[in-house]
Subunit: 779 residues, 2 copies
Amino acid sequence: MDERDENDIESEGLLCDEKELERNGSSFSFSSEKGMMMREPLLVRSRTNNTSQIAIVGANVCPIESLDYEIVDNDLFKQDWRSRNKVQIFQYLVLKWTLALLIGLSTGLVGFFNNLGVENIAGFKLLLTSNLMLWERYYLAFAAYAGCNMVLAIAAAALCAYIAPAAAGSGIPEVKAYLNGVDAHSILAPSTLFVKIFGSIFGVAAGFVVGKEGPMVHTGSCIANLLGQGGSKKYHLTWKWLRYFKNDRDRRDLITCGAAAGVAAAFRAPVGGVLFALEEAASWWRSALLWRTFFTTAVVAVVLRSLIEFCRSGKCGLFGQGGLIMFDVNSAVPTYSSPDLLAVILLGIIGGVFGSLYNYLVDKVLRTYSIINERGPPFKILLVVIISFLTSCCSYGLPWLAKCTPCPDGLKEECPTIGSSGNYKNFQCPPGQYNDLASLLLNTNDDVIRNLFSSGNEEEFHLSTLLICFVTIYCLGIITYGIAIPSGLFIPVILAGASYGRLVGTLLGSVSELDVGLFALLGAASFLGGTMRMTVSLCVILLELTNDLLMLPLVMLVLLISKTVADSFNKGVYDQIVKMKGLPYMEAHAEPYMRHLVARDVVSGPLISFSGVEKVGNILHTLQMTKHNGFPVIDEPPFSETPELCGLVLRSHLLVLLKGKKFTKQKLLSGSVILNRFHAFDFAKPGSGKGLKLEDLDIKEEEMELYVDLHPITNTSPYTVVETMSLAKAAVLFRELGLRHLCVVPKTPGRPPVVGILTRHDFMPEHILELYPHIKLHK
Amino acid sequence: MDERDENDIESEGLLCDEKELERNGSSFSFSSEKGMMMREPLLVRSRTNNTSQIAIVGANVCPIESLDYEIVDNDLFKQDWRSRNKVQIFQYLVLKWTLALLIGLSTGLVGFFNNLGVENIAGFKLLLTSNLMLWERYYLAFAAYAGCNMVLAIAAAALCAYIAPAAAGSGIPEVKAYLNGVDAHSILAPSTLFVKIFGSIFGVAAGFVVGKEGPMVHTGSCIANLLGQGGSKKYHLTWKWLRYFKNDRDRRDLITCGAAAGVAAAFRAPVGGVLFALEEAASWWRSALLWRTFFTTAVVAVVLRSLIEFCRSGKCGLFGQGGLIMFDVNSAVPTYSSPDLLAVILLGIIGGVFGSLYNYLVDKVLRTYSIINERGPPFKILLVVIISFLTSCCSYGLPWLAKCTPCPDGLKEECPTIGSSGNYKNFQCPPGQYNDLASLLLNTNDDVIRNLFSSGNEEEFHLSTLLICFVTIYCLGIITYGIAIPSGLFIPVILAGASYGRLVGTLLGSVSELDVGLFALLGAASFLGGTMRMTVSLCVILLELTNDLLMLPLVMLVLLISKTVADSFNKGVYDQIVKMKGLPYMEAHAEPYMRHLVARDVVSGPLISFSGVEKVGNILHTLQMTKHNGFPVIDEPPFSETPELCGLVLRSHLLVLLKGKKFTKQKLLSGSVILNRFHAFDFAKPGSGKGLKLEDLDIKEEEMELYVDLHPITNTSPYTVVETMSLAKAAVLFRELGLRHLCVVPKTPGRPPVVGILTRHDFMPEHILELYPHIKLHK
């Protein structure tokens, strides 16, 4: 039992009114400026807290709800921990693994469904075109091809523009930011999930140079969020057990599993999925998570394997063996000589340059498109239509430039492939010949990659074909990302990289002993390293895709080189998009300039705090006037000898408390009443957009004058830093512990017990630069 | 410039004398007990700080130097950061990568050398035995075999017992503890490295059931430590640039790279090495580390590959293809049916049970052996001799129980292998026949594993052979770990697991379609999962060992099951050894009972602090009397209005400061003098055992009365918690930020500004249980 429950002192304490708050704010402001001027002659501006909870960083405006991974330590939760028995802990464990299983199952199913949809729709489209061309009705064939693409593109764009704008793009940057603590609006909502699945199918089937891998990661995360959150609470659709998961830590763990499952489903790479989640997605990592993520991706792998087994018998329409990309390069290279290594190093360097250039151009294009997209859904769709037409023209028009090639002898496949969506396109060629550029441009992405990776036959593609293919895909990839359809970046980069690698391989054919298929793989690796800047996860994904361990050292080498080269130019593409979207991403390390600032230099005022037992009217007024999410609670006489920091209270908890209406007429401690009335689960964090709103409260005029005891819901152990703490160390504390609010306390006694609150926004370079424009922001 | 430099106030302040320190301590003690009794009726004992810096946990006594990963924020280091220019940053970067490269190169070379040594020595031994047997001189053969083993065993044991006792055992638990912040005595010293390399070669060649994988990890870490630390500072053997690496963060990063390189060298598994470092070794992980570790293991892979290529021409004596284990299971199983899955699940469950039993027995044996080993080096050697003789008897004696088997037709290999250390041992058999048990027991470990994993031929080993082999290796493995030789746990577990798996596979031959070689692999996986409790890294290591991706889902399944089963019995073997060795390992999560305690409940007194400008005699006296490593510095009037916490000063920094002898007659601020006299690198953390000792100081009697300004070396931003902070949250802060000292500050004003200091020891369950015996320690 808490000691407060026994001392129900009745008395009238001092209330924090508006004026006092103002005074607190300004008094702090003064001391801060004084302290700072003493150290460094920096320009000091007036600071207000208006941008602190609504992050306005970069070009875009993005309302953010931060996640909070801290253990909340209030009386209510303590009571709950004490009462948790072994059965409940067992329930929790069982449910945790069940959810991991369900995430794996559903992501595997969705991933398979996605592939099935794409292969069948795109396959039908290509079959139609191919048949029309066989009858030499070339214009009609183009009309059919471009028309199909257009219809699919418009469907994808309409879904995106009207139902869930958050579903556009890759989704990986948003998931990454979410796992860093940035809960952007509706990024994991069910509508986003729906649009992501179907938009991705239509978009990829429409022949755009986009992948389904990024969207799969986003889809996996949405599935995890939906499963962990349960259905609507209002209609009692949520499962009672799921209450254990209504907190940030478990939610984040589930979404990490979902992201890993997405990669596993996209590439059929279970270990790669785990590593991707670790290297690229997650900001906080625990050993237990590795273990659970691994389980989820294993389930995905088993589901996919069984479904593909099922499809082997031909029951899945046009979905063939190639539905899920899995390339057998099989170019066992037991030895390689020094010229080979030099060639590979060269490949890595150029790949790094092209990769960073890709990032630079994608950024520019994204900024241009965002101006168009902001004008409304019709403009979004118009942009998609234009790009779709351009893509159709390229895929259909450019193959006319290529000469016909006689089919090689001794092929297992049919050549040219007539009447099916095969790899040796006849296009305009006479029987017995094929158009090699059409095989690369007028085909599904998976088939193109398989063609490029195919080993042995150096003559299969001409040099000019590979050059045209590389330039086309590189350019189309850049201008396609950013239009309002779900679009992954992996496939465009792999396609461009593989054609570039095969081009280099063909050029160096006389110098190097290595196979052209292997060169294509290394080219893809170099581009991936240059744009995504991942290392181990890419390596393992490529390993699992190609099923050849012997090329591992070469892939590692090329990734290392291309990443190093590209890192000297700019940041990885996902980091770049996170920044461009204005998501306040906290880096894991403190910036060097932070070492020269202290915590009080960046806190923004005025500080608004509550008394331990506060007037209802005051709380309501404050909640209306500000958008802050956390307020310090200060105990004042008679509840303590001097004003002291009791803890931190969250807006969402205040709303639940006010809704409960356990008010008292006198200013007294009524903690035990509140502890009996409420249960910890009432304060569990609701899913995004589902929590109580201020408008849901129905406080009568006469209740405004009553008091409410905030102690039971106050987090009595908030992390604090002294105002003279180095900002670098405060940033490390904030980031490592995943905080949302960090209380800054005064160094000297005799001042108000809290100087200010640091939030994520206060650590952003943009904020600090605004306060101290003379500070050098290192790269 | 610091403000203190300008205010050289001359005055006589109050000095913290012994009495006052006592008073501080007791006053805290009182308030703490009062606060606690109010909350929970727990038994309160008197607490002293005597065990706080010297951890006495569990059965063993182990003096610990903790690592400290915090950014030290004092004036001297700030001056240094400001002065660091771009050239220095570039130097640092270049050196970082150079060191990673060097670690990779040396670990690769050492790994190769290790294999070369083992293969040649053991090969010669087996050849001799085999030849003697061929001439039917069975007793002489046994004498030669047992004699060779004995000599090698004594050599290994003597090295271990007399030169570096820390080199005994696997070394992985110690590396794991080091990376958690526990710097156990001479665990990474050059002598340990030397003994680890040669002791491991002799030990493995002596035919013990031990592996070279654990020692390789330890070797890699030692190499990394040695390279990062440079040679002796006294003889100017250290490289000037290495000064950048004289801090905990860089040292830990290097050692993580070393551990990964060790695994990569042991298993030729670069990705597995990275994952091992991540999953099992490291306690703190950064994305940048992934990248650098990956580079190191890639270098190891390339070095090994080139050296093996070199040996292919037969220049390496008896070192054949099998020198580095790399098994081609090649049992491509595209499909498996439900009975197969059931068999695999059963295998996993039994594997988990056997694995946890293994841990339990190893723990018991270790405790018994530690009693023997404590009696001195001769006893250690005696124990080794006994085990060696027992092992020789088993390996030579048991094959006599087996019947001779006719050689299978159509073998590529010679059968029986006469005159070389081959796989089909003739033993006592007539020509054309071989002894299958001798192939498993009288052979090098690598060859045995290859034999067990070999696919296709179900008849190769009889059921009884496999059973005898399993029981022998399981028992020998348990009694061998803990003797005074470097001994890895991987190989015994893989051997026992593989023979168990093949046994089950042979038994289920009629039910399951799976190959016996695959069953052996799955058996090994289940044992590894049951003892080591790693998942992803084991999976990838097995993947890289066997080079077959298609069995990945089955390996994952078996690992998941065996880990889950074994986790319900006990902890992983490395965690168990860490605990048994009494290393104060900080778990990543806070224990549930910590939620019911607050920070002041566990701080131990008396608190000893220094004044901002302190008398030299006082400092010296305090350093002599206590073994504390950190002291709070408290500013008192006239340097501040009221006593306030200035920061934290480290023992090692105090020693350097006293050595410099920049004392003043008056009690005044002399920071600028000290800042000019010293450079930040003077205070850089020395390698273990190399720092200044108290005896190195030469303070004269008259200097005792002088004063020294502690401000420039005081870390002015120590992390602090309020005394009422939940212990769980304080533990999370301590662990996540890698702290060594955590200051506890009072909640109410008017008391001394520091209540106490929390160290690693204060969070140990043993310490808390001693204070509060009624607390339930959950599992």
